[in-house]
Amino acid sequence: MANPSAVCNGHLHHHHQKQNNLLKSGIYKKNGITKGMKKNGVSNGTLYKKTFIEHFEQAPMYVAVLTFLGFGVGTIFGYLRDFMRACGLEKRNLAAEREEQKDFVPLYQDFENFYTRNLYMRIRDNWNRPICSVPGPQFDLMERVTDDYNWTFRFTGRTIKNVINMGSYNYLGFAETDVNALKTVSIELQKYGTGVCSTRQEMGTLDKHVELEKLVAKFLGVEDAMVFGMGFATNSMNIPALVGKGCLILSDELNHTSLVLGARLSGATIRIFKHNNMQNLEKLLREAIIYGQPRSRRAWRKIIILVEGIYSMEGSIVHLPELVSLKKKYKAYLYLDEAHSIGAVGATGRGVVEYFGMSPDDVDVLMGTFTKSFGAAGGYIAGKKDLVDFLRTHSHSAVYATSMCPPVAEQIIRAMKCLMGLDGTTQGLQRVRQLGKNTRYFRRRLHEMGFIIYGNDDSPVVPLLLYMPGKIGVFSRLMLQKNIGVVVVGFPATPITESRARFCVSAAHTREMLDTVLNALDELGDFLLLKYSRYSKSAHPELYEETRLE
């Protein structure tokens, strides 16, 4: 154990402080967790069976200064333009009230949209681009131009063909139009049509749903599962059914909006812990158990921890082993949202639970979506039979929402059978392996080039940090000129100084496609000065690996 500490304290770096504290405190100082680890019976005495490497490098100080400078200039010009609009020197393009209603209570609060009006509008052409083909490894874009600086667009009629797709959540490449692959789907389409026209509790439960739920339960290794028509609605409609007033929700800082919405709708008390920080979570758990509910000091009815498998903006993987040991020690429940990790991590694509070598019984509620790795739509909740039976009767989604349509259910069935190997081929396993290879290659090359990349080495979501607001628009436009489609994200989806470009590696990407993208990134990185990393990897990986937990 001394070795990793020596690497961490001795050399280079930027520390991944969280990992370092974990190493020091999790294993040496905290008696509670040490006892927990011994009980686990893992032979080499640690919670992690393989190396867990995460990167969250901080950029040099001048980058932060220049980012704020850019935002400052943008804000000043925003105020100038707002002033001109208020004076009448410039035409107002956003919604405004009618003249007769000027004395009423204001309908449109002007200042809240300041950022949208003045900064987002200028680079708006990089989002909401309409595509006109299947979002496979390559796709076709409709070309659009703007005459008045992005307030309105018009289509020229031309399509840009074969743009390399680095933005779609197509991790295993199941978004395809191959006739042989979709044979069963078209048969089911002929048999059932497209609409279900009812909810699960009335007449919307088809034999396809029952078949799918049994298959999902078998795939994950749990007792039972329930599927819903929409992934976002799975979270936001089922969390209120599981928790209510008098319960405590401990939710990660960077959780997805669907989890936040579900938590707020439930009416429970919500406390937030720092991203992936198990010490912070333990402190909150202890406080919750010692002090109880805010005014009455009674014990909490239920304590539930909401986390995600892979966080889509950071590319980080949840620290599941510590989380499970914490949950067992403090008797809390765990809700794991595997939207991005199901099918994408793990030796056979069964998600983070398999990635860490743990049993699915450790997690109380397993949730996931079919949108990302299965090329379909919808979500599932899986776990013990009692839990799923309870949700069948009490979930808002089951009672009121239309159930999943049959062709989509068949697409999930065929994708899952392919993954499990039930269709007689090894195609599923090949896809998972190809994704792993592509991910590692892409991340390694980007690190070598000197970009700052966040996240775990095994996660197929690769955020590349751009930092300055001026570079967001330029990056996306120049990449499109080179026929590569990327997704760029800025404030408010990310912290204000950390705008990024997010790549989603797919199993359907060939080595040539990845090389094309990497060469383009190399060129753009030199032209736009994006290579902020102080530690590009050299020929000696052992010296330069950030932290290892072995």
Partner: protein
């Protein structure tokens, strides 16, 4: 050849300035306003430096000379 690469380099520097200060995103009249403000500020700073710096530097030098000069005289008198 050298002029061409020099021009390319200068153009690239100009692009970096545009990106960092977000003037790439501005409409032409905003750019005009921004650049004229910047150039006016720069000219003012340079002009002020041109007028006042020699005066400031010579008075600072005088101050330090006096300090060392008086020390020199003192040591000379002690020796004597």
């Amino acid at each position: 050849m050298d002029i061409k690469s020099m021009k390319n380099y200068l153009y690239w520097l100009y692009c970096q300035f545009e990106l960092i200060t977000c003037s790439y995103l501005m409409e032409p009249w905003e750019k005009l306003l921004f650049y004229s403000f910047n150039i006016a500020l720069l000219v003012t700073v340079l002009y002020t430096a041109y007028i006042f710096l020699p005066g400031h530097i010579s008075s600072a030098l005088q101050f330090f000379w006096q300090l060392f000069g008086s020390q020199h005289e003192n040591t000379v008198s002690v020796l004597k």
